[in-house]
């Protein structure tokens, strides 16, 4: 039975599985790997309870191959993989793209391929861009920043996948996987008994605004961050900071961003502070997407936490604003 209560306290992995069932997915395939196994454990039980098909595959590539077969006979399957397994998947994912098979692929970004450690920690956006750019096909990639958004995005992912007849990526931050909190179990568009319709790429994919915004002019600074970091920024509730948090990497909500920034008072050149962890990955992408804006890159060297984030950002701003000092040798 699908949980029918409207508001319930759920963990991130439970949200993914519940939303998939609510959206009408009939089959789930996965191979065990660290942290993504949380989804596997939950999904194995729930899908079998729900008379769906579940196979624990021998390898992530085999899991995606099974999903490819299942989507060939009318199902929209769910596949969950680890970031490290994603490289092995690329070949099969390319096949799925070329044969236009609808399926939803949840990628748990718990560490880059080849990393020595496998800890559950805050991840840099580099590992979100890697699945996005890997296949060569422009795939719809959602990047939820909170549990409620995760619920909504799962529904949207199944819907978009069926509409466009292609795989859709949902990039899941490992912190979101473990997080627990109240989720409004709102109705999702169901994929059951719907004819597959191919739509043009120009169709809007996000029925609601694809940008979490906290904008009040005049302001002191404009920040742009994605994922869990963006959600933390929004939760700071600083009155003199404007915060932009895009919810999908592809297609990037550039129109919504431009509209939001068009309201800025004239005569001032707005500087958008792009904040991210480890390297300027998002900044490099944004330079291509939004060439007309004045972007400034801020890189956090240590993994951020919600506590003390405000202080960290203030120090970053101070160091960036100060003129460079000459070093004495």
């Amino acid at each position: 039975m699908i949980i029918s209560a409207q508001r319930k306290s759920l963990s991130g992995f439970e949200v993914v599985i519940e939303a998939a069932l609510k959206a009408g997915s009939q089959s789930y395939f996965a191979a065990p790997s660290p942290f993504q196994a949380l989804l596997l454990n939950e999904g194995a039980m729930r899908f079998e309870e729900h008379h769906g098909s579940f196979i624990q595959a021998e390898s992530p590539a085999a899991a995606l191959a099974m999903a490819m077969g299942a989507s060939a006979v009318g199902s929209v399957p769910l596949v969950t993989v680890n970031e490290q397994d994603f490289l092995q998947l690329q070949e099969v994912l390319s096949y799925c793209c070329l044969q236009s098979r609808p399926l939803v692929l949840v990628v748990v970004a718990n560490g880059p391929p080849g990393m020595e450690r496998n800890w559950l920690q805050f991840q840099s956006l580099a590992y979100f861009f890697q699945p996005l750019l890997g296949t060569g096909s422009p795939l719809v990639s959602y990047l939820p920043s909170s549990l409620q958004e995760l619920w909504q995005h799962m529904g949207l992912a199944f819907d978009a996948s069926l509409k466009r007849s292609q795989p859709v990526l949902l990039l899941l931050d490992p912190l979101l996987l473990m997080q627990q909190g109240p989720v409004q179990l709102s109705p999702l568009p169901s994929v059951k008994q719907r004819e597959r319709e191919l739509t043009k790429n120009g169709q809007s994919l996000m029925p609601y605004e694809s940008l979490s915004i906290c904008l009040e002019w005049p302001c002191e600074h404009v920040w742009l961050a994605m994922g869990v970091l963006g959600e933390w920024l929004l939760q700071l509730h600083k009155s003199d900071w404007n915060i932009l948090c895009p919810q999908s990497l592809s297609p990037f909500p550039k129109q919504a961003l431009r509209e939001a920034l068009a309201e800025a008072p004239e005569g001032e050149q707005t500087v958008i502070n792009v904040i991210e962890y480890q390297g300027p990955f998002l900044f490099q992408q944004l330079q291509n997407i939004l060439p007309e804006f004045n972007l400034r890159s801020h890189i956090l060297t240590a993994a951020p936490e919600p506590l003390g984030l405000e202080m960290k950002l203030a120090t970053l701003l101070n160091t960036a604003c100060q003129p460079e000092r000459k070093r004495d040798v």
Partner: protein
């Protein structure tokens, strides 16, 4: 039905003719779904009307398992070569067999990697000349060949048989084996595996007649035909 684009004497067209005969005779075409791997076998969809999916190399049994679990009333078979099944995707076959997925796996074993230009494959017999073993396959340098049907028979499958296409008597047996394989699937008894020994005259560097003779010899020396496993069929 379009004209065959296989080489003269190729066993693929022979086996596909047998399959067509069986499908028409049983009236299975509406429920059928084929999965092909990489190599010469990937042209199967050209010659049949039912949907044929091109799987990633080696993963055809996994794709078939996904189809079968989602729609159990369909008849799903994979049509693979020995390079695709034995080299790239042996793990997919073994896991499908262990899971007990009721699919039919057909392997056309022509003992050479024909699709890529006649290199040594995992089932190439000892002493056979291929483009990557110019002096014949030596077990010292290139290892020993794999006996697929015997290996699959050790797994919990319903049916495992090796048949050959070099003589009319053997073709009759091949037809019976293919029928049995689909019957086992229809009964849901588990994976059924048929290894069909065929010839590849261009990459065996022989004429079709010579190739048939050498297949006959290899049948005696290396790959005996026969049923290696067959559980009691539910009638």
């Amino acid at each position: 039905m379009s004209e065959s684009e296989y080489c003269p004497g190729c066993s693929h067209s022979h086996l596909q003719g047998l399959l067509r005969e069986i499908f028409q005779e049983r009236g299975l075409t509406e429920r059928l779904m084929g999965v092909v791997g990489a190599g010469c076998s990937q042209d199967l969809g050209k010659y049949f009307d039912f949907p044929v999916i091109k799987a990633p190399p080696g993963l055809a049994p996994a794709v078939a398992a996904g189809i079968k679990r989602t729609t159990p009333d369909r008849l799903v078979f994979t049509y693979q070569g020995d390079g695709d099944l034995g080299s790239r995707g042996l793990d997919a076959l073994i896991h499908a067999a262990l899971r007990g997925d009721s699919i039919t796996v057909l392997c056309l074993n022509n003992q050479v990697m024909a699709g890529s230009g006649g290199q040594m494959s995992i089932t190439t017999r000892t002493g056979q000349v291929t483009t990557s073993t110019r002096l014949g396959r030596s077990t010292a340098r290139a290892g020993s060949p794999l006996k697929l049907a015997e290996m699959v028979a050790r797994l919990p499958v319903a049916f495992s048989q090796r048949v050959s296409l070099h003589e009319s008597d053997f073709v009759k047996r091949a037809r019976l084996a293919l029928r049995d394989a689909f019957d086992y699937q229809e009964n849901g008894q588990g994976l059924s595996f048929v290894e069909v020994l065929g010839i590849c005259p261009p990459y065996w560097h022989q004429s079709p007649e010579e190739a048939q003779q050498s297949l006959k010899q290899s049948l005696v020396r290396h790959n005996p035909a026969g049923i290696f496993k067959g559980v009691t069929m539910i009638r």
